[in-house]
């Protein structure tokens, strides 16, 4: 799931490990997609109990989970435009022990 495999700041001479290789990441993602597909298929095979009217929609939970997260992120990104301020907005935070790289 690594976003940018090219911007490594790896110390010199360190061996590549499992997650460093893009092929492995791609493999994990493939397995993940297959699992997602299986869960959708299972929805049609297994008889689920219906408690609420919404649940009658096929694969309701999968759709809802996906849509909910996309909506969540989109709204949150919009919120940044209004609510996001510089880190020193409230106080200067000069005496913090942490040395943050620029």
């Amino acid at each position: 799931m690594s976003t940018d495999n090219h911007s490594h700041k790896k110390p010199e001479g360190e061996a590549e490990d499992f997650f460093d290789k893009p092929a492995n990441v791609a493999l994990i993602l493939k397995v993940f997609y297959v699992l997602c597909a299986l869960l959708v298929i299972a929805d049609f095979v297994v008889h689920r109990h219906i408690y609420v009217s919404f649940e009658e929609i096929p694969t309701f939970y999968a759709l809802y989970g996906f849509v909910a997260c996309v909506v969540l992120v989109v709204i949150a990104k919009e919120m940044r435009k209004i609510f996001m301020k510089d880190e020193s907005y409230y106080d200067e935070r000069k005496d913090e022990s942490e040395e943050m790289p620029k």
């Binding site: 790896k10 689920r48 999968a62 940044r80």
Partner: protein, 558 residues
Amino acid sequence: MIYSIPAFLPFFIGAALLAVLPNRFKYFVVLIPLVNGILLFLSGTNTQSYDVSVHTFTLELMEVDKLSLLFGYLFHLACFICVIYALHIKDKVQLVAGLAYAGSAIGAVFAGDFVTLFIFWELLALTSAYLVFARRTQAAREAGIRYLIIQVLSGVLLLFGALMYYRDTGSLNIEYIGLGSVASWFLLIAFGIKAAFPFLHTWLTDAYPEATPVGTVFLSAFTTKCAIYMLARTFPGEDLLVYIGAAMTCFPIFYAVIENDLRKVLAYSLINQLGFMVCGIGIGTALALNGTVAHAFNDVIFKGLLFMTMGAVLTRVGHVKGSHLGGLYKTMPKTTIFCIVGAASISAFPLFSGFVSKSMVMAAMIEAGHEYLWLMLLFASAGVFHHAGIKIPFFAFFAHDSGMRPKEAPNNMLIAMGIASVLCIAIGSYPTMLYSLLPWDNTYVPYDVTHTLTQLQLLFFSALAFVWLNKKGLYPPELKSVNLDVEWIYRTAMPTSGLYILAKLSQLKTSFISLGNAIIASIPVMKRDSDANAATMTFRMAIGFVVLVVLAFITQFV
């Protein structure tokens, strides 16, 4: 053997002793929650109540029933884990404050009347504030003061409400109150502040990320759960709470998605979990209340675990800013695994603890007929997985390699995290362990095909959304920033407008003074040897005469 002393006593004695003894005695502190907890557990419901008479008043220090006992066990367990987690630090203040804090929480849950509760309620505030101060940065000092003011305010409201309640009912016993009287509103707000109701929640997201690595783990366990416990006792079945709870589950997740400080992300996600509990209290059925209590129990452990992993990162790296972390799994593999266990538990993955308790509240929600609110909770469940389940482990331990190679966490931290992880998996896999302790009759079965399948679908497709957004580059990057929340009102708006009014007032004062000076200056100065000419003198005397005549005329009518 029957337990017959006030359960908080060993904690206070331990804290007092530790404060004066040399630092090497700190290892014995582990025994306090362990031995006390085991004794209390063995004694169970046979535990004796304990009263103290003060003048004409009786303080009920130990009121034991299944509800208070469960929270009592939980706080012993939490304290045990926290103390192990804290053993490597040399700063004794934190351990002393932490012990006293845990003792206060235990005192508060066993309190039988409002006066006893008030004492422990304020002790909670005082002792916990030191866990924030102990970070010893300017930001922590200021956040600690703000935290203390709000916490003490909650205590004052509690006392106020309790006195009014006494005037109304003639009783101070803690029992079902229900909304209605003015007193009940005071009590609800007092509990609501500590339970982080919307708009009253900012003390939590303000202070928790500023506390020490150890401090935040302590803080996350006790204060809010005491409030949940009190709400469950005094306001079960109060419809308003369902709506408050639903709001609490939803709004924090938006902040959590864009927050950079990972401990602040967890603080928001803590409010979200409290929302589920408040919903359960609002529904008020046996299933809902059992769900609330069980979820409180699990939340202390998995949220504590997540805070512990972030505390380990903070200890080793010096900060927990998502924008500057990544790739830590290479050198902190154990912490990474513990973090993933915590993340799976909070997201309610099958076989992890969140799964067996959150679903009780969700099921109760459907039974109570709140279909749309149930949708909100489902949205929040997907959101939790998104920000706490994926974002925390992903940005801290994986994501892009930050190049940092910190050491693995100290052994005592690893042990504490290990215990919490084992508990998360054990409770998730054998829920009967927890269910048998629940205060109300429980017939809920978490593991059936429908529930497992639907939960997996929800979680996997939330994860799919994360992958998709990340691949498309739509996912908001972690940025060094702060996000404005309600605290803006008292951290910026109020000081700024206050200063503005002050500046305006002082301007007004200056202009009044200069006006007065001008008037005084305009009065002619009559010195002994200054010579005014006859005309001016006559004119002034004439004016003086006219004024006197007018005054005399007016007095006739008064």
